[in-house]
């Protein structure tokens, strides 16, 4: 045996005798990365939110204060928060409603080739650039776009126009309305909803559904009382993705939608041209607090019991 293999063998022996050492070696680099780079910058950001800006000179005053958080509750800023949260909630619910049947089909019926097609179909949109997808949607939703053309061809243009006339969700065309923003968010994030639901449905034994039917439950009762509760951890996991991704995004509402701003755009604007880092930081804290609150509620409701 050469000395090289001897050294390798004695290293293996050492790691076998001290399993914690191996764990330490494996965990240290990501722990340093997450701990120092990520959490460190997060705390630096949080610290900024407790400073304030002098309204006349625009100079940051390095004194601890809640004044900047108070600014969040000014009507103009608070509207941004409400708008973003409502959008994130709508996208999450929409993704769950649209994603569940797809995930159910994949988990229950798709086998072999069809399963591969399912994974490809769900994942492939993730391979292309996010910007390309968003700009494609802008074209689809534009007044000269294919969707408008389709409505006109089917002589349903009046329906689309009536819908667009509704305040808040409507606009000049779909591409400059909140509905457009919603549709693009839904498209971009839906894989993150489908995959966790599919994973949780895979784990529901088929006999569980048969038992429910056997005991007299009609299919909708089986869905309501057995399938949905057992798939709930997957739905919650998916909703964490769709909700938090929508809360933080600032590109989609900028390209598709009305001129009304979302939290991400506010952060982008305040830390950039406006130079108001404290307010940008305070805005950035909002999604963190909302997500913490959401997870706490979900845990209390027993959403993670089946994990």
């Amino acid at each position: 045996m050469s000395s090289h293999t001897n050294a390798a063998v004695s290293l293996s022996d050492l790691l076998w005798r001290r399993p914690n050492l191996l764990l330490l070696i494996l965990i240290l680099p990501p722990a340093l990365w997450l701990g120092i780079i990520y959490l460190g910058s997060l705390f630096a950001l949080l610290a900024q939110s407790f400073f304030s800006i002098d309204e006349f000179s625009g100079v940051i005053q390095y004194e601890l204060t809640f004044k900047t958080y108070g600014e969040l509750f000014r009507p103009a800023n608070f509207d941004i928060i409400v708008r973003t949260v409502v959008m994130a909630g709508a996208v999450t619910i929409g993704a769950a409603v649209v994603g569940f049947p797809v995930a159910y089909y994949a988990a229950r019926y798709a086998r072999g080739k069809w399963k591969a097609i399912f994974y490809l179909g769900v994942m492939m949109p993730l391979w292309s650039s996010y910007l390309v997808k968003v700009y494609s949607w802008k074209l689809i939703l534009a007044k000269e776009g294919i969707l408008n053309w389709l409505f006109e061809t089917l002589h349903l243009g009046w329906l689309l126009n009536a819908y667009l006339a509704i305040p808040i969700i409507g606009g000049n065309s779909l591409s400059v309305s909140s509905t457009g923003t919603f549709l693009v968010f839904l498209y971009v994030w839906i894989p993150f909803m489908i995959l966790p639901i599919q994973a949780s449905l895979e784990r529901v034994p088929h006999t569980m559904l048969e038992a429910s039917g056997d005991l007299g439950a009609r299919p909708y009762q089986t869905f309501l009382h057995v399938l949905l509760p057992l798939a709930l951890p997957g739905v919650i996991a998916g909703s964490i993705f769709t909700f938090s991704l929508t809360l933080g995004d600032y590109i989609i509402p900028q390209i598709v939608g009305s001129s009304r701003r979302f939290i991400g755009q506010a952060v982008y604007a305040y830390q950039g041209t406006a130079g108001n880092i404290p307010l940008a930081a305070a805005f950035a804290v909002v999604p963190i607090v909302l997500m913490a609150f959401y997870l706490w509620i979900a845990k209390r409701k027993g959403a993670f019991d089946a994990l």
Partner: protein, 327 residues
């Protein structure tokens, strides 16, 4: 006796695979009926056909006189105890048992009361508030039983109900299932691959092989009067003797079935070469060949046990050699 379940030429084919093939069956009301067979023999598929989880590709199934083809599982007057119990993990024991009543729209108070009564019947009255994951295998089995019985089905279907339990618990549950069936008076149909379970519990047994029923009869019929070598071999590991050998003994050309316990050591008889000896506890199993035909015998405790390699003389009573038609 009225017919509870009747199969008329029922088949369930999956492409070229004949899971159940032209089965005819008539189970009487109040009967304790066993479907026995090796895995893949079609017994579980037959049970699933009764429950409605599978639909026949040919033939007709009547449940209490009603053609069942178009009746979905949730409308059939039968309930199933699943092999893996299939208890709902997100509901506690009481809600699991009350599930059938809940979906039927029974009020909350009434169904909790019925569930507790049924749990009492399977000696789990104190466990209503627990989650299924906090119970042992035997307790889960009882919950599954209570859940199926709370709906007061006309027939109870049991799919390998005791398969996952250890020996002692299994024997205890066999007794309990039998007395439960007697006190409830409903039809029990249970699927098993364990021949001793089928023989000890059932009023009648159907032996399945390759999707077909090869013999239906009382446990005594099946055990002492097998009609086919498969039944003789599968039920009680009988010695299946080839026709040539039987012809030499009796003059008739037929397969012979000879129970291992019917063979004994004696002064006169057939010369046997002992191949191997294994101690079973209550008896010792001796494998041997007689004129080139492999055979086993059970030697009871206390007798002189021959050793492998010895030559011994064995015999059996003529009555114990059961003849089966050549196929």
């Amino acid at each position: 006796m009225n017919s509870a379940i009747r199969f008329s030429g029922v088949s369930r084919h999956y492409g070229a695979v004949k899971a159940v093939d032209d089965v005819n069956l008539d189970i009487a009301e109040g009967e304790f009926f066993a479907m026995l067979g090796p895995s893949g023999s079609g017994k579980t598929t037959s049970l699933r056909l009764i429950a409605g989880f599978e639909r026949p590709t040919a033939g007709e199934i009547h449940i209490y006189g009603e053609e069942a083809q178009s009746i979905p599982p949730y409308k059939r007057p039968v309930n199933t105890v699943f092999q893996d119990y299939a208890l709902f993990p997100h509901l506690n024991v009481r809600d699991n048992v009350a599930y059938g009543l809940m979906v039927a729209g029974v009020g909350k108070k009434q169904r909790a009361k019925s569930a507790d009564e049924t749990l009492e019947m399977v000696a789990l009255g104190a466990y209503g508030g627990r989650k299924p994951s906090e119970l042992s295998g035997g307790q889960r089995q009882r919950v599954a039983l209570a859940r199926a019985l709370v709906n007061k089905p006309k027939a109870l279907l049991l799919d390998e109900p005791l398969g996952a339990l250890d020996l002692k618990l299994r024997e205890q549950m066999q007794e309990e299932l039998k007395s439960l069936q007697r006190s409830l008076g409903i039809t029990f149909i249970f699927v098993t691959h364990d021949q001793s379970e089928a023989l000890s519990m059932a009023d009648r047994v159907a032996v399945f092989n390759n999707g077909r029923i090869v013999q239906i009869g009382t446990p005594e019929d099946i055990y002492y009067r097998p009609q086919q070598p498969f039944v003789a071999d599968f039920v009680g590991s009988s010695n299946v003797l080839p026709p040539e050998f039987v012809a030499k003994l009796t003059g008739k050309t037929a397969h012979g079935s000879l129970r291992p316990e019917a063979v004994h050591l004696s002064e006169t008889g057939h010369a046997a070469q002992i191949k191997s000896v294994s101690f079973l506890g209550t008896a010792t199993r001796v494998s041997m060949t007689i004129q080139g035909v492999a055979m086993t015998m059970l030697v009871p405790k206390g007798a002189v046990i021959p050793k492998a390699g010895d030559t011994a003389t064995v015999s059996w009573a003529d009555d114990d050699l059961h003849l089966m038609a050549v196929q």
